[in-house]
Amino acid sequence: MTTVAGGVGDGSNELGPLHLALVECHREKMTTTVVVRQKYLNASGRYLYLFEFENAESDPQIPGHSK
């Protein structure tokens, strides 16, 4: 597992207009894939965690549903 510390509130890792600051990033290597977890702090002081597989397929779409 690899940990990359981000700078909380320093603006360098902000995402979008709501000032989401990256706190840390974990990469956990499994046998066939890598699970990435990014931890953010939002403007109201609550944590948000984003999980993803590297090179994952996209979500299935419901026919007729457009975003």
């Binding site: 995402l15 989401l20 939002n42 609550r46 984003l50 999980f51 299935p60 779409q61 549903h65």
Partner: protein, 326 residues
């Protein structure tokens, strides 16, 4: 926002009071959905302000349990007790797509959800004041879901919740009297009888329990004695995704509509290794329907006496589910 607990002394059980939850969003339209990403919903409404995501977890804005402990302590007459409702409440969002349900997820996405459950269990358990972490999902309006976007919740309780405690005590007593794990013994029995089994693979089994509270209840259990999500192997994670997909798809095929249910993960209590031997991981699905157009309501006998009356034999329910999963 802090919450409090009052002891129901008649049952010796804590009841949580989280009045701030009265103000949470109730079935907002998609452009105001707090679980959609920036590409769909208005920036000021989303809890996940990123253009896209796979699986997201965030601290609930309207938590039932909280790490903020500000409440006025009054002198209470005997036998009343009140305490802060300490704990954590998180929301887990399975997909950025507002229209999906768990049964629509790819196996890969379900595996990522399982990895997120494991990560959050480990993290929340690191709080020494947390005694029990339970991921769960309320699916559908019938069971009180207020947001239709596919999501579940993860609660970290300050003590072992009452329903879990009863089951853990039964498992501990069985171990003490027989020397065997209760759930392992149940798996052996289900493998002998087979008539309630609805799905299986090399590491998991799904079956309607011998004495369910709800007619189409299903338990998904690892064949190996695994106390917690955090003990699962990679193979077990992959194969769990297969069975969770199969069970939820089967539910939707059963009567041709997206079946509401409560799904809950029962695992060993946090930071207490005494529970590793008696506790065996179990994922419980409890749908409220007893037929396509009839719902099992909890009424006099169930709510007042705790004596459940079930309208369908589990062997008949398993046969119907098995057919729906083909």
């Amino acid at each position: 926002m802090s919450s409090t607990r009052r002891l129901d002394v008649l049952a010796n059980e804590w009841v949580i009071f989280a009045t701030s939850r009265q103000n949470r969003m109730y079935k907002p339209p998609v452009d105001l959905c707090p679980l959609c990403p920036l590409s769909v919903t208005e920036p000021q409404f989303t809890e996940i302000p990123t253009p896209a995501f796979q699986v997201a977890v965030f601290e609930n804005r309207f938590p039932s349990l909280s790490t903020i402990e500000t409440y006025e302590q009054h002198q209470l007459p005997e036998p009343y007790q009140v305490s802060p409702a300490y704990g954590h409440c998180e929301v887990i969002v399975y997909s950025e797509n507002h229209e999906l349900t768990f049964s629509d997820l790819t196996l890969e996405r379900i595996q990522l959800v399982i990895h997120a459950w494991i990560d959050r269990t480990l993290d929340l358990e690191s709080d020494s004041r947390v005694s029990y972490v339970m991921p769960f999902e309320n699916k559908g309006e019938l069971v009180g879901t207020t947001l239709s976007h596919p999501h579940g919740q993860i609660y970290a309780y300050p003590d072992i919740p009452p329903v879990v405690a009863v089951r853990l005590t039964a498992a501990k007593e069985f171990l003490a009297s027989t020397g065997n794990c209760l759930q392992c013994t149940i798996l052996t029995a289900e493998n002998v009888e087979k008539q309630r089994m609805v799905a299986t693979n090399s590491t998991w089994i799904a079956f309607v329990p011998f004495a369910p509270r709800f007619p189409f209840e299903v338990h998904v259990v690892p064949l190996r004695h695994v106390p917690s999500l955090t003990d699962l192997s990679e193979l077990e994670i992959r194969e769990l995704s297969q069975l969770l997909s199969k069970v939820t798809k089967g539910y939707d095929n059963l009567w041709g509509f997206s079946l509401p249910y409560v799904m809950a993960i029962h695992q060993r209590p946090s930071n207490d290794f005494d529970w590793r031997e008696p506790c065996h991981l179990r994922i419980e699905f409890k749908p409220f329907h007893r037929s396509a157009d009839k719902v099992k309501f909890l009424a006099g006998s169930e709510l007042a006496a705790g004596a459940f009356v079930v309208d369908v034999l589990p062997e008949e329910a398993a046969a119907q589910l098995l057919e729906a999963m083909r």
